[in-house]
Symmetry: C2
Subunit: 331 residues, 2 copies
DNA sequence: TTGAAAGCGCTAACAG
DNA sequence: CTGTTAGCGCTTTCAA
């Protein structure tokens, strides 16, 4: 079934391709009878305009690239929902690169940006270093989501430092004195910021117990168990754990209960992100709730505005959205 | 920064566009010196071939559409990982439609298929009814994943009936006599099959207690709580729950523990899917483990083969993959 | 209101 | 080994 094209339609309708184009796009004036005729032929032949042709001609693809390291991470997934929602409203579609920490894969997707297949890109925690990313993206429309570097492109995130301070301060205020932190060591700004906040909070409170353990990966719960053990080792284990993500917090919670600890009495646990299943662990996780969906919609909006040539002041294009400390049973 | 095109490169290098094309694609023979020269100009001018032009010319987009109702569902996410992995190996990219049960959104994405922007489609639990789907997709390359209708297109799934029978039979064999089922009522074949298996297993064992409750949505844990209460209501509540998904099972587990039930002693819970967090609930969930990643790779492979014009016998294109009953603490 | 023709950026057949 | 030319399917001046 070789595709049928606009010329065949034109021929069958006894008009020119220009007229067919005008009819299917509703541009320009066409005599009602002619329109009728064309429409009926379109119907009859089952004609669908080739969008590659259209896009090429209009040099506008109507597609947004989303670079995420791991779509199975509910944080990413929810941001993407927001992106997709806003994109749809504005007539855009989403090309998803689920890189799985595979920089090569990210590169091949970015070639689509260079090649004009997508009009712009939203990066979530990309695995390529920001400067390499910058080189690949160049001056093309770009919005950073969550993980960002100021100055290189607009971004939407939260104030990681302040949020983490709030979380740790809350633990301190609840009387915890041996607060450990479970993080990852992947060079992410957000991880560094949260760790800095952790240290600053302890220092501000004059607490001497300070212990940061890096889980080998966010993905696996086993790694969280290993990290948990490291945190509880030695003469004095922690009486509270601040985890850099709900996934890790969830792993820690699991390990703790298995090890016979009572949560929150013997050990408090606080997560980060506010993904759906943080509500359903037993006990439910205290966590920093990020506005994931809104982050997505803002990203899409900023990106599309950028594509349309709109310029923004910094305060419009560098968004730090509000978060909430949600207190639940784990603390 | 107006894009620079192949003609400008050709001109600057003092060759024809054909030669530039040959150089950048590595097709045809080009004298080394000429190649050098062209390459250096390409470098210098920062030329990236317009892929819209390429794709149009080659009438091949190299893109696969994935229709998923909810990417935040880890089952979907993991299948997509598999799809992406195989697609990458074969030089394809993924266009993701995260429909959120919005049929209109699915339609706009399917227009991209009709319009040649993508070469084929993989549907996971699409929200459009299969026949409408069929009308929109027509004879274009299509593979169904998980949820399928035999005959309309190749599919990759598991034997839902047999798997569910195994799960329920297992509960029966463990001595449970009041087994309830938590399902959803969205007209999905997989839900119907699992429910049919549930009823058949009970009948085969001569058990009279039969109770199916439909959660209003898979998405929300609250709905699982409501469904849980319905299952436990009346004089005799269940002593086991077979849930149609791990998400629901997780919600049931949570509700049960909150209600003071001990799991698995007083109440056994079995889920379905085998998503990562089924390992980390307390107790961990017994579940039917679907080979999600492999389902994804098979889908991508079949689709790409179909696109390349390869034909399959039914036994090659109607794949029911093996599953496993993973027994954990919840039963 | 309509058609002819040019061109979006690219590749491939053909000739040289 | 390289250039000329035609054309992928579409839209949009420009004329009529």
């Amino acid at each position: 079934m070789s595709r049928i094209n606009i010329r065949q339609v034109a021929k069958a309708a006894g008009v020119s391709t220009a007229t067919v184009s005008r009819v299917i796009n509703g541009t320009g004036a066409v005599k009602p009878e002619t329109r009728e005729k064309v429409m009926s032929v379109v119907e009859q032949l089952g004609f669908y305009p080739n969008q590659l042709g259209q896009k090429l001609r209009n040099s506008q693809s109507g597609m947004l690239l989303v670079l995420a390291s791991n779509i199975a991470n509910p944080f990413c997934a929810l941001v993407i929902c927001g992106i997709e929602c806003e994109a749809e409203k504005r007539g855009y579609h989403i090309l998803l690169c689920n890189s799985q920490s595979n920089p090569h894969r990210e590169e091949t997707y970015l070639k689509l940006l260079q090649g004009g297949v997508v009009d712009g890109v939203i990066t979530m925690d990309a695995t390529i270093r920001t400067d390499a990313l910058q080189a690949l993206i160049g001056k093309r429309p770009w919005v950073q989501c969550g993980e960002y570097k100021p100055g290189v492109a607009p971004f939407v995130s939260i104030d990681n430092y302040a949020a983490a301070r709030q979380a740790v301060d809350y633990l301190i205020d609840s009387g915890r004195t041996r607060i450990g932190m479970m993080s990852v060591q992947d060079g992410y700004m957000h991880a560094d910021e949260r760790e800095r906040a952790y240290r600053d909070s302890l220092a501000a409170a004059g607490l001497s117990f300070e212990r940061v353990v890096y889980a080998q990966s966010v993905k696996s719960f086993e790694h969280a168990t290993t990290a948990y053990e490291a945190l509880m080792s030695g003469e004095e284990g922690c009486d509270a754990i601040f985890a850099i993500s709900d996934i890790l917090a969830c792993g820690a919670l699991n390990a703790a209960v298995k090890a016979g600890k009572t949560v929150p009495d013997e050990l408090a646990i606080v997560g980060f992100d506010g993904v759906p299943y943080s509500e359903v662990t037993l006990p439910a996780l205290t966590t920093i709730q990020q506005p994931m969906f809104e982050m997505g919609t803002h990203c899409a909006r900023l990106l599309i505005e950028q594509i349309s040539g709109q310029t923004h002041d910094n305060h419009e294009s560098q968004l730090l959205l509000p978060w909430t400390l949600v207190i639940r049973g784990s603390s």
